[in-house]
Amino acid sequence: MQRDVGSLPLAPALRARLVAAGFQTAQELLDTGPCGLSKEIGISKEEALEALQVVRQECHSDATQTAGAPGTSRKCTALELLEQEQAQGFIITFCSALDNILGGGVQLTKITEICGEPGVGKTQLCMQLAVDVQIPECFGGLAGEAVFIDTEGSFMVDRVVDVATACVQHCQLIAEAHQEEDHLKALETFSLESILSHIYYFRCRDYIELLAQVYLLPDFLSEHSKVRLVVIDGIAFPFRHDFEDLSLRTRLLNGLAQQLIIIANDHKAAVVLTNQMTTRIGQSQSTLVPALGESWGHAATVRLIFHWDNNQRLATLYKSPSQKESTIPYHITPHGFRDVQPPAVTQNPEGTELNPRKRPRREEEK
């Protein structure tokens, strides 16, 4: 109620007039009433009423925040956060080594960035995650939906069909092994068709379409509340050419990062971005570094770098607040993203609560 007039979200011209007329706090405005305001400032009664409504809404939301109403307030204790984090699910990648170094999989409410050379498998992982987020809860998944924003045009529906078919088969094998009722019930709705219908695809051709889409994303996510994954495949591509003004680029990227963090938190979704590598020319040699500059490195919470070592693809966890840096090998098979060799898992007919999705993997050839 004692809020300063200059801080209210009114039109700037109106604000300037109120301050010039001598109003100091929001309470004063509310006490004056619309007719008094219109006479003193020289605006119409309707405009005065509109302004007062804005002021009243602002003060109301301020009051609920100080009263500590749940949901709108962003304060909570670390214990509450710990409970939330432990109850939260992860999006698995079907490569158990990668899930392990990530601490369980791709985390919700965080931004994960995947950098890598061309052809190393970034888009493959994104397509795998878009399918994996939809795995039903009884199989250890999140039963969510996915938004796929494509700026490079590398999304191939046929490949997603392959990956989704393999995932459905995997779940069917688990259901056969364990024969529980909710497994079979979940399988009825978990089919190739339903997986594909719940991947929402946007093709953004330049950075303006990308900016516009991210502005519209909160409304879209409110309508489709089951979305748990937002993938932006190729955040670097639209920003890497046609930008003479680098400071504009930095500002736009920072704005994007902030909006994505808000989206990730508000809608409890995981945001996955893929980035390109660029050559940094040093004095004597050049190295490959993630594109978009140093300041962009702060945007993501978790950073994975994919690279080659002779013929083996490797994934390195480069930045993470909770896991230590490590490198693991992975494979891309006709069924999608997988481990290099089958992990040594023993047959586990009972006790499925811990890891219902794990079963001994057959070695895929090719």
Binding site: P9, L10, A11, P12, A13, L14, A51, V54, E117, P118, G119, V120, A130, F148, E152, G153, S154, M156, V157, D158, D162, E193, L196, S197, H198, I199, Y200, Y201, F202, R203, C204, R205, D206, I208, E209, L211, A212, Q213, Y215, L216, D219, F237, R240, H241, D242, R251, Q276, T278, T279, I281, Q285, S286, T287, L288, W308, N310, N311, T333, P334, K366
Partner: protein, 355 residues
Amino acid sequence: MAPKKLRRARLSQELCERLSRYQITTCQDFLCLSLLDLMKVTGQSYRNVQKLLCKVSLACAPKMQTAYEMKVRRAVNPSSAFLSTSLHGLDKVLHGGVPCGSLTEITSPPGCGKTQFCIMMSVLATLPVSMGGLDGAVIYIDTESAFSAERLVEIAGNRFPAYFDSDEKLFSMTRSIYLYRELTCGSVLKRIKSLEEEIISKKVKLIIIDSVASVVRKEFDTKLQGNLTERSNFLARGASLLKYLAEEFSIPVILTNQITTWLSNGLAIQADLVSPADDLCLSEGASGGGKRESGSVTAALGNTWSHSVNTRLILQYHDLPTRQILVAKSPVAPFSAFFYTVEKSGFVLQETDSE
């Protein structure tokens, strides 16, 4: 693709006039401003500005489709999703052939057969759909003056003797291949920009650019300062224009590139490829100091370009006359290699049991 004017975003007339006083006339300018700047220029409250932002974004944002709708659309017209290369093993691995709607790159040392491949694909694109073609015209942008019409007719006559049984059919095939000779980067870019109208009027189903590398490397010497960024800009702009055309009209685009080898002190010589992984380790110089002593082979044109193409096929020498074609980068295919020879009828795959 000029940026959209604000008038077409359904903003009110007086608002557009007010914004034009601040030199904000397109959606691009509008979306690049921060919220506080927008409040200042529009003179509206915070909430109203957010609503305006949503309105302008709606005018610019792409349409949503689900993956299922995309699959159904492809299933309705399966033959239009790929252009078959008529090389059976290669088609199988690529799930049908050269994909429509994305960029495919053919890269090789000189003399391996890039231009032959391009000529063969031109013939295939003009074939009717029942024979695996796209029944359309071809735009061939030639920067090396390597295209030979006689060779085109020879390949057509020998590969499909049953179809091209009369001169009349051969001539009508050659009439639907439009050849453009461009010798500088600027003219190539200009030509690509003009393609949109040509594709509609001539019913084009395939675009070939042979070769991107030769014209770019003639003009940009990467050792000179500033040339690297200019080259990347040119390539990125060309790539995004071509991608737009490929997706908008759902046609394949084939580009050719060259191979270079970089030793650790920067000399470029010719070398044989060992495996596709070597190709994908790109570095303009040695990265990591000496990890690759024997010299890594890379496709020319650098990093940005390699990110832009979706599929990459590499041709290389094996034991003459046999050569090898490798699938190095593809969203749908794993690494594969096939042996082939170049005959009168174009490429002929050799059936080996190593496949």
